[in-house]
Each structure stands twice: as C-alpha cells, then as structure tokens.
Symmetry: C2
Subunit: 553 residues, 2 copies
C-alpha cells in the first residue's frame, strides 16, 4: 500500500501575474483582490496528483508569494487585499494530500517552511507596509486554506448554511495544521486553548455561528449581503491604512545564468555547488557604480539598484539551494568587492528615510536574511582577501553559524558594522542578529555599533564579531578541516543543533511557528502513524482505514 | 546490525539515600555533597548495558531527583549543593548510549523529559529555595554530564591537563544534547552562538582554558588547589544564600496499593487504567480533616498534610502513567470530596506566608502541575457531582485540554477560583494557567479571581472557565462520544497538537527546552541517521562507521 515518493526539481521560483495558473490578481484603486481558482491539472507534478477542491501545492504558493511581493512594490496604492475563491462552495481545501503523501520527507518540510514564510510575509506586509488583508471566505476554508485566512488581518465567512472553517489535519490525516495554524490560533487570534482543542479535532469544522463565538472568524455575511459587505470592509480597511504612493516600481524577473551542477550566476550573486563535496559557495558582490541618491533616483533605478537586486538574487539562490540541492549540507558565504561601495549604497538607501520604496527594500532585505537564518544548511562566512562584509553585508556573517576571518599582513581584510545591524533586520524572534549574538554581553552591541570604522581581524576578533581570526599560514587549512568535518556529520543532528543555537532569546508567535510547531510537525511527518504504509496521511482517500501504533510519546 | 529495543516497566520512582546505588549524599551543615559513583552493573536493564564511565540511565536520575527534593524538605539548612564524582578522571559521561540505543522511541523521549524535569528542579531549587548548586567537575563531564553542570549555578573544572567539558552528541552520536544543553548554552549561560557551534561539534571538548574563555565554565582549579578551592566556593555560596531553617521535614515513602491492570490507589489519589479503552481515570480527593493551622502545626503534620501528600501522590501517578502505560492516550481528571475542605487546606497553607516549609509545598505543587502540563496524554477534566475543582484543584481543570461540567438541577456542581490561580503555580512559560487561557481576554482573569464564590456550571461557562456545560441528559453521552473520538485519533498528532495549544504566550529558556529542543530531538530520535541499522546512535561503540542519508532537511 506504500506510496512512491518522488523528488522533483523546482525549476523556477519566479513568476508573474500574466503567467499565474491558480490565482487571479485584480487591482482596483486601493483595493486588490486575489481570487483562488486552482487549475487542477497543472500542479507541479501533474502525474502524481490533481489539485482538486482548490487545494494547493508549492506552485500555488509561489504565485501567492509573488503576488504579495508584487503588490508591495508595484502597487503601493493598494491598502487592502481581499482573498477569495473563484470556485463554488470552497475557498480552499488546504495543501493537497496526495501531493504530501507522494513527497519525500525533505520536500514536505521545505514546502511547509516556504508556505510559512509566505504567510509571514503577508503579516509583514500588514505590519510594515500597511497592506491589510481580508480573508473573504465565500466557501469552506479547510486546513491550509484556513491557515491562509489566519495570516490575514480579518476573516469573514459566508453564512450559507454549509460553508465552514476547519483544521481537519489531526483527525483526518494524523498530522498537524503546520502552516502556522496551531500557533496563530492561540498566539495571534488568542483563541482559548480548550476551544482551539475542540476546533482542531473537529474534522467537519464550524459554521459561522460557532466560528464567530470561538473567535475563529471576525464576522459572517449572508450570501445576499456578501459582495457588498466584503466591498464595504475592504473599503473601510483601505481607508484606515494611510496612503503611500500612487506609483509603483516594477519587479522584473531576476536574471540568472545557469552553469554546471546547478550553479547559478546572477549579477551580484553567484551560487556554486560542489555536489560531491556536499557544499556550496554563495558569493554576494558589492555594487560597482555610485548609488542612486535620493528617493526619486532610487525609484528611477528601481530593481536595478544594488540594494534590492542583490537581495532578490540571494533570495532566489537560497530557494534553489533548499529545494534543488538537498545533499548540500554546508554553505560558504563569501562577499567580493569594495566595502565602501556597499556602505555608500546602504547610506543612500538610509538617506531616503521613510520613503515607501526605500522602506520596502529594507523590509525585503530583512525577509531574505530571515530566509537565510531559517535555511537548514550549515553556514560558514569566509572573510578573506577581497571580501566586503560591511554594513548590510555584515549581517551575512552574523547569520552564519561561524565566521572565519583572514589576518593579513596589510590589514586589508576588514569588516564594518554600521547602523544596518542596529535592529534594521530583525530575526523571527524580533531580536537583531547582534542582540542574539551578544545576549550575554549587551554592551558589546553598543561597542560594535559605535566603532564607526572598519575593523581588521584582530580588532574584529577582540570585539567578538568573528569566530576565528587566522593568519594566512593557517587560514586555508583550518577552513578545509572545518569544512571536511562539518560535511561528515549527521545532517539531521546539524539541523537540530542549528535550530537551537541560532535563535537565542525569548520566542514569540513567528519564531514559535518554526521552532515549536514545525519541529513537532517534522517529527510527525517522520512517524509511521502518518507516513507508514498504514499511516493516516498515506491512506487518506483510500477506502482502508489507517492503523495506528497506539503508544503515546 | 539492528539493536533489539526493549520496553521495561519502571517499577518504582521512589527511593531513599539509604538505597541509592549511584549517588552518595553527604550533608555537612549548610553544605551538601552529591557524589556520583555509578554502579556499572546495576542499571535498570543490566542485561542490556553497563553504566561505564559514570554514565547514567533513568535509575540514576530517579536518585538525583530524590536527592534534590529531599534536600529541599529534609535539609533546609543546606544552602549549597556540590556535585562531584567518586570515580577517577571522569565526572560523568552522560546518558548511557547502549541504554539509549536499546530503548524504544517512546522510552527515549520519556527518559529525556524526566531528566529535563530533574534539571529544571535543580534550577527551581536555586531560584526559589536558595539551594545553590556547584558543579565541581573533578574529571571530564561529557554530554548529559555537562548538561547536569549547566543546570547548576556555578561550574568548576579541574585543571589537570586532561579533563574536559564536552557535548559530543552531534559529532559522535548524530543526536542532540537534548537535556537542555543547547538551550542552556545560549539562553542561560548566553554563550555566543558561534562559539556554542564550535563547542557542540568538537567531540573531544575543551579543557579549562578554552572552556573559561568561551564561558562554558566559571572557573578552574589545579588538582592541588581543588579540594580547598571547591570547599571555599561552597562555603561562600552557602554564606550568600539566606538561612531558612535548621530543622527539616521528613519525606516518607508515598504509600500505594496496586490493583488490577496497574491501577494505583493512594490515600488522596487513585489511578485507574482501562488498557483496552486506552484511557485512564485519575482522581484526586479532598482532605477529610481540618487543616493544620500555622507553620508549626503544618511542619508537625509534615508530609501527611493534604497539601503535600495529595500532590506527591499525583506526581507518582503521573510518572507511572507516562512510563508504564504508553498506550493510554487520554486521562480523565476527576476530583472527589468537599470543596470547602480543599479551600480550608489551601488557606491554611497560604496563611503560613513565606514559612520555608509552606513555601516548599507550594513549589512542589507547582512542579507537579507542570509535570501534568508536560504529560503527552490528552487531559479532560470531568466536573461532575461530588467533584471539588476548587482552589488549588481548580488548576487541574485548567491544565486540561478540555473540561466538561455538569449542569445539575440543584446547582451543587461548582468550581471555585481563588488566589491559588493567581500566579502561584506558573507554567514553564512563566504564565499562570489563567493567563495562558485568557491571553486574548486578560480582563477575564481579574473577573475570575474577583468572583470570590463558587460558580455553578452556567456561570462557570459564561466566565470562560470551563469548555462545556451540559445538562444531565447530555453529560454522560457527550463525554462518552468525546472520549471515543479522542482515543481514535493518531497519538502522534495529538501530542504535537497539545504541545502547540497548551503553551500559548512567549517562551523562555524553560519552555524552549521542551518546545524547541525536545521537539527537534524527538525528530532526530526517529530518523534513520540516528536510529536506523546504520545510524550513528545504533552503531556507537561498534567498529562499523555510520552511514548517513545526506539529504539535509
């Protein structure tokens, strides 16, 4: 009864509304509508599953991620985003079960991580960009469908006597609502834990009355009042969120040249994969031209500006690393170029103040850095001759599990900490990377920020900003040995270790989604009760009932 | 190459220093010393493993738990507790690997949970009882041995040229330092995350110099200065912790009658197990006599006092439930007796103010309730005729995943919230159970605490204090259906769900140990790279090297 699990490369994480298969994006003044109308036969692995009941796979979420990102940049006039369904009776049935059952463990985990990041980007857009979202559930929202709604600012459910919200994962599939569902229920919507327990074990879900009473939705509307009611909410929400700009900036496709073994060469980023060595080299290059000065010039430069282009390239490279290079266990982070140019571009961005586009760029940089933090690969920053870990790029070195810095005779190799490290790029815990690093020595944060100049390796080491400072006799050898050792260790143990060492400090809703919810989900995704031949996930949709090993752990 | 995994009942969680096989407890005025000298051949499963190198199994930790508890109650004069080893060159090599490799997944998880609770009880003793602990590492402390040290207030390592501290789990065993190690490194000792990364991948560990530099220890002493130096620290620590009392209260054995199917009848607690129904009934009874009034009378009553006896019995019952009834998925929490008596005993305890013994009783109650929160079984509180969910026993009902309350005609069935629910029994998150329950409606906490009287089911339901209020026509049926449904669901999914719904609110070091660290460890304990035939844990000690599936997840 086993299901064959297939790995499929994900060819492309970029898309455009013109090419969406599953979502329709409509913009009307300050209000945008994303209508989910999934093309059943055009999932990423059409031979393995059909996307029935408006259920989704990674391809659907790639479009969603693109749409949210695009609205923030291309349509800053949009203040209110309405999610709704183009299919009768069903808003969204959640992640496709046959897709999950026929995916490898690694793909399942990466898929959930990506969908979690997308949902968080929706909340990020609300909090930082004032792009408020409304889940207009004109049909049943089950599982991941309701989890998408939970990531919105408001949830409305049609009162048609049959539509429900539900999280049927536990009772029907033997897994968790793992796309933030459990966490958002009790930590975001603050649904009482016993009511959440009732809800999460009620496969058939709740209609409007109980959903409203339990705080699962914000309101209900009858079919006759639905369109007008949602339009009214969308207008009110839009009116309540201050206007930003009427003119957006286009997000063009990120160009890349693809080389041997899946290496990817972008303008400012290069990803080189050493498959047999189970490692990759990820290089970010400094800009080579002067920065656009001022908000107008920055908008004119658009996505060609280094401050956004480099990070979009890095983001794309990280996704390919995660999904298409699963045996790569270690990423060596390099930078190349003129640190002064990095600082100049950082400074020009900062000088734009709270200009909407400049702000969006910073938020995007922050999301990309969080994607790096949450990548299940070891990260070593290599601070060598020609590197430029300065300003925003210094954050790469403090995202890393370790950093190795060359102690050169001339003192050319330097790092530089700037205000970019002063909370501009918060981690999922809400802390800056320096706060996380110096949890026990907070005075070092101020020292580092106050330094005001580039530090050579001796000073950087003394300031606690790098893991190791090594002279040129030892540098290559030490790194070689460290790399060999790292890639020899159990990949699972490393993932668990890094997940525990990277996120020091107290945790809130966002970090609990990855640290608590996802960890438990990963455990369950490994258990025979879910994925064994007689497991609930494997047998979903078959006439056979699952058989459980009843031992509670 | 597979290892046979055996389940062994744990016959007894109670012990006494006279019967310790592995620890020697010596008390000298304000200073106690616990010397670890493990009896290799007397592990809990001597046919499966020998406890070489001062490595431990559950039996060793049961003694440790007993010792810490006993010091708090029987030796309130002790202000400083020194941990040291009775074997040359090794303080403690951590959890025994052959024991782990030959244990079922469920036992491994329960074992780690218990050791985590014991370590936390040591920190609890330091914070609340002023019983400060010093890890005097007179030999190498590896893995769980160093994790025990991390739970102490101070760590000293002998400078003999060979002794080290180490966490070799990741490099040698392909698992995590899961007894709080990773979390305490970065969140308690606030070791910089990159240094923690170096340390946790360095199988051979660090000697004094690097350990001191990285903050892994507080100090080092040469062999010639060791005894005097540790004695001096112990005396200084003891002198710095205010005296409590010179006269302790004995902790006698908790009596129990064992019945059919493992049922356990204590004086105030009964555990009835329905193995085929995969459920248990846990009943706590109210006291039947008047409470001891005042601190002196309370000490005279000692562990016979209901306020401590009932909770010690509950603790013992929970441990038996966890280890010896693994297929029980649901626990029905009942209370029986006179609510007024519960309140009178609670009030008499409270009236003792900060008397040391009264305080110790409250801390113990709090630990038992946290043990309940952390038990991987569903909990339903049944508030029926004859029940007494009042005062401290009300906490049982808000520990539960759900509570069902009978709406009787006479209004005899009542609950009562008192100051006992006002932060006296914090969860691992630091929140009270009412704070956790009403995260979104904090005004309800004040309302509940201000009520000042017993509430019938209608009022309790309106106040949000129970999940369901049901009249006597529906009560039995609803519960029967809910029970049948609960025990039919995937036990893994339920564990994951409950771990996510029970701990709303932000997380700190204690809750991260269970929610983040343990969750990742449980995942790894399930992975072939650790426990498969060629996994690192399975093959530890064999000449064969492990073979890893290199896919990073």
């Amino acid at each position: 009864m086993g299901t064959v699990q297939r790995v499929q490369r994900v060819e492309d994480f970029q898309t455009h509304p013109d090419r969406y298969r599953h979502w329709k994006l409509a913009v009307d003044g300050a209000i945008a509508t994303l209508t989910l109308d999934i093309d059943e036969e055009n999932g990423l692995r059409p031979d393995d599953y059909e996307l029935k009941q408006n259920s989704y796979d990674l391809g659907v979420d790639i479009e969603l991620c693109d749409a949210v990102q695009r609205l923030r940049f291309e349509h800053p006039e949009v203040r209110s985003l309405v999610f709704t369904s183009g299919q009768p009776k069903v808003f969204c049935a959640g992640a496709n079960i046959k897709m999950l059952a026929s995916s490898t463990h690694g793909f399942k985990v990466n898929f959930c991580k990506y969908t979690n990041e997308t949902r968080l980007s929706l909340e990020d857009a609300s909090e930082l960009s004032g792009l408020k979202s409304i889940a207009a559930l004109n049909g049943t929202a089950a599982g991941g469908g309701y989890e998408l709604a939970l990531a919105c600012d408001e949830i409305w459910l049609i009162d048609d006597g049959s539509s429900v919200v539900s999280l049927p994962e536990v009772p029907l599939l033997g897994v968790l609502p793992g796309t933030g569902g459990l966490t958002r229920l009790v930590d975001k919507r603050r649904v009482r834990r016993d009511l959440a327990d009732l809800f999460c074990t009620k496969a058939e879900g709740y209609r409007t009355k109980e959903s409203k009473r339990y705080g699962l939705i914000d309101g209900a509307l009858s079919r006759s009042k639905w369109d007008a009611g949602i339009a009214e909410r969308a207008a009110a929400v839009a009116a309540g969120s201050p206007a930003r700009s009427s003119q957006g900036v286009e997000l063009p496709r990120v160009d890349v040249e693809i080389g041997d073994a899946g290496s990817r060469v972008y303008k400012y980023v290069t990803l080189e994969v050493d498959t047999s060595g189970r490692q990759a080299k990820l290089t970010v290059r400094a800009p080579e031209s002067v920065p656009p000065e001022g908000a107008v010039a920055l908008r004119d430069a658009g996505c060609e500006a280094w401050v956004i282009r480099a990070y979009r390239e890095l983001d794309d490279a990280l996704l390919h690393l995660r999904f298409n290079h699963d045996t790569v266990g270690l990423v060596l982070l390099h930078t190349r170029g003129d640190a002064a140019a990095v600082l100049a571009h950082d400074a020009a961005l900062e000088a734009c103040g709270d200009d909407w586009f400049a702000s969006e760029i910073r938020y995007l940089q922050a999301r990309v850095l969080r994607r790096l933090d949450n990548t299940a690969k070891s990260l070593f920053a290599i601070i060598d001759e020609g590197s430029c870990f300065a300003g925003s790029l210094f954050e790469l070195s403090v995202s890393a599990d370790r950093s190795y810095m060359l102690e050169d005779d001339d003192g050319n190799v330097r790092i530089q900490v700037t205000g970019a490290s002063d909370g501009r790029y918060p981690m999922t815990t809400g802390l800056s990377r320096l706060q996380c690093r110096f949890l026990g020595e907070p005075e070092r944060i101020d020292d580092a920020l106050a330094a005001g100049e580039a530090l050579d390796s001796a000073d950087a080491f003394d300031a606690g900003l790098v893991t190791m400072a090594l002279d040129d006799i030892d540098f290559e050898d030490e790194i070689r040995i460290a790399v060999e050792e790292r890639v020899s260790l159990s990949p699972d143990a490393l993932t668990g270790m890094e997940q525990n060492l990277r996120f020091a400090g107290s945790e809130g809703c966002d970090s609990k989604i990855f640290g608590r919810l996802s960890a438990w989900q990963n455990w369950i995704f490994q258990r025979p009760n879910a994925v064994g031949d007689e497991g609930a996930l494997t047998l979903y949709g078959h006439p056979t009932r699952p058989r459980f090993d009843w031992r509670r752990t």
